[in-house]
């Protein structure tokens, strides 16, 4: 174990270096550009043996990964925002071909208007593509998640996204504990797929036409693999905890044991929410935080257990789903709570926040906890769907 300090992008590139995969296909886009940049330097310095394919677009980057992975190689890429959107078509090809590609996603707003800063609209937009999605609060977590990615993905034969917040963690230098190279290599192991294109004596087609007589069976198999991946995520987390002393699950519960008011959210702002909860606990308010680590597969059982009996819950989305009544995390979290008995079912509200890099502070979370307390007092939700920090928005949360 080595104590160091580095940015989130460098942490991911460093994990990649320790793993030394076979192929990287990548095209630069802010704020993930540094990942292939650092990695190119590792290649130039002879520190890794990866074949780097410099492509002309993200569509080709994902195509490269698909080709390499189908051939039997361990393939990686990194992207953000419009780059991820440009991969869209191929994301489904990768998932349905059951290719365990690992993609580092540095979350950035999708264009419209153009913006380089953080939100989750890019990876939330492809949440139904059949990729496992794991999110990080800080640099340590994105490093740890990346090291767990391949043992999860390759076992389940599903592609995986390891997400972190653009600039907020990708460009922030923070303390980090790094594993030794040999520890990482032993943990991740060699990639030895059962079936692949270059396997002698076993002719194989990848990505053929799926006629109606077969298409649904293929989709059901993907769905089963996604459901089963939950067990594998825990197995890998257990092994990682033994190696590193750092334990992960589908979600992280913070001060939730006796919480009356909870905030559910994803990513770097969870750290700020935790700081707000700590301060409120000192003032006698029973505040708690639930951080979603794994969004696909969706941690509905864990959320039911964590939120059951809480008086009021704010589910915070860093993306607008334009559903007209809240973001995707809200919709799915609230659906998960439907099966909880009425006596234990919390009042729930949707807050859309942080779009295009809009900052969120401890005082923002204080306001939200205050709103939860008022809602619990009133015994009903007045306004189910609101925005945070929008100028001139009298119904929203200002903070």
């Amino acid at each position: 174990m080595k104590r160091d300090r580095m940015s989130g992008n460098e942490a991911v590139a460093f994990a990649m270096k320790q793993i030394d995969p076979d192929v990287m296909g990548a095209f630069p886009i802010t704020p993930s550009t540094e990942i292939p940049q650092y990695y190119s330097k590792y290649i130039a310095d002879g520190e890794v043996h990866t074949e780097f394919v410099a492509v002309e677009s993200e569509h080709s980057a994902m195509s490269t990964c698909i080709g390499a992975s189908a051939a039997g190689a361990r393939a990686i890429t990194a992207t953000s925002s419009a780059g991820l959107a440009y991969m869209w078509e191929l994301l489904y090809v990768a998932a349905s071909s059951r290719l365990p590609i690992t993609m580092a996603v540095v979350n950035r707003a999708l264009t419209g208007p153009i913006n380089i800063n953080n939100d989750h609209s890019d990876s939330m937009g492809c949440r139904d593509a059949g990729w496992i999605q794991i999110y990080a609060e800080n640099n340590q977590e994105v490093y740890d998640n990346y090291i767990q990615a391949m043992p999860i993905a390759e076992h389940c034969r599903l592609p995986i996204m390891i997400c972190q917040d653009g600039f907020i963690t990708s460009h922030a230098v923070e303390n980090i504990e790094l594993l030794e190279d040999d520890q990482v290599r032993a943990f991740v192991g060699d990639y030895e797929p059962d079936h692949y294109l270059l396997k002698k004596g076993e002719p194989l087609a990848v990505g053929p036409y799926g006629i109606s007589a077969y298409y649904m069976e293929i989709k059901k198999a993907q769905a089963e693999a996604m459901k089963d991946s939950r067990r594998r995520i825990y197995e890998v987390a257990d092994a990682f905890a033994e190696l590193s002393g750092r334990r992960y699950g589908m979600i992280e519960e913070y001060m939730m044991d006796d919480a009356e008011f909870a905030i559910v959210l994803i990513g770097s702002s969870a750290g700020t929410a935790k700081a707000a909860a700590r301060q409120l606990r000192d003032a006698g308010v029973k505040a708690g935080v639930v951080k979603i680590r794994v969004f696909r597969p969706f941690p509905w059982e864990e959320l039911q257990a964590a939120l059951s009996g809480v008086k009021a819950v704010a589910v915070m989305d860093k993306s607008e789903g334009f559903s007209g009544w809240g973001g995707p995390l809200f919709a799915e979290t609230r659906a998960a709570m439907y099966d909880v008995s009425e006596a234990h079912r919390p009042l729930m509200m949707s807050f859309v926040y942080g779009l295009g890099g809009r900052d969120v502070t401890i005082s923002t979370f204080d306001e939200i906890y205050g709103d939860l307390a008022r809602t619990a007092e009133a015994g009903k939700v007045e306004n189910i769907y609101r925005h945070v920090g929008v100028r001139g928005d009298e119904e929203g949360i200002q903070g």
């Binding site: 917040d165 460009h171 922030a172 230098v173 700020t272 700081a275 890099g357 900052d359 502070t361």
Partner: protein, 194 residues
């Protein structure tokens, strides 16, 4: 948050405020602290105002907050022309201090600070860097001033660490190491506190 020291840097794109911010995080890390160093990104270009931030605290769990800093303990202004266009003391603790790269005295600079009552410090980082490095690279002297005023790191330990990392980085250019070390020491000596 508790013992966390929060610092905000103001500079113009290209002057190295971001680099100084990351160097301070590095130096604080080397002396055993939990650190954050991060710039605020947008459509920057050379010469446009930029902001960068540090959170530094003693060991332990560190700081989990991931937002910009609105109530800093210290503010460092790498380019004094920003005093005309940016409200640099916004939210600044009156128990803290502002350090401005300027030839002026702290009393003269204070007149431009909209009634800020805390400590005002000035250092002529431009002249120091020209004398020691041959170019106007104000961020190195400003980094030294930040360490001296904020006391987030022991200043002798800081100078030792900086010398070590510069010797490592510029192994083939010993004159660069010496120039930078002189810049750091001169800044600490010439800093004016008002």
């Amino acid at each position: 948050m508790g013992n966390t020291v929060e610092i905000r840097w103001h500079g113009r794109g290209g002057q190295g405020a971001k680099t100084a911010c990351l160097l301070l995080a590095d130096a604080a890390f080397s002396s055993g602290k939990q650190v954050q160093g991060f710039p605020e990104y947008g459509p920057e270009r050379m010469g446009a105002p930029i902001t960068a931030y540090n959170r530094i605290c003693d060991g332990g769990a560190g700081n989990s907050v991931h937002s910009n800093i609105y109530n800093p303990d210290f503010v460092i202004v790498v380019d004094e022309t920003l005093l005309r266009s940016v409200d640099v003391t916004s939210g600044l603790s009156e128990e803290g201090a502002i350090i401005v790269n300027s030839r002026k005295s702290p009393a003269e600079v204070r007149e431009q600070l909209h009634g800020y009552k805390g400590k005002v410090c000035t250092v002529d980082a431009g002249t120091i860097s020209r004398e020691t490095l041959g170019r106007n690279i104000p961020n190195t002297p400003m980094l030294a001033a930040a360490v001296k005023v904020s006391k987030v790191i022991d200043k002798d330990r800081f100078l030792e660490d900086m010398e070590g990392s510069l010797r490592h980085k510029f192994a083939s250019k010993p004159q660069v190491v010496e120039g930078n070390m002189r810049a750091l020491r001169m800044s600490m000596t010439q800093l004016k506190v008002g």
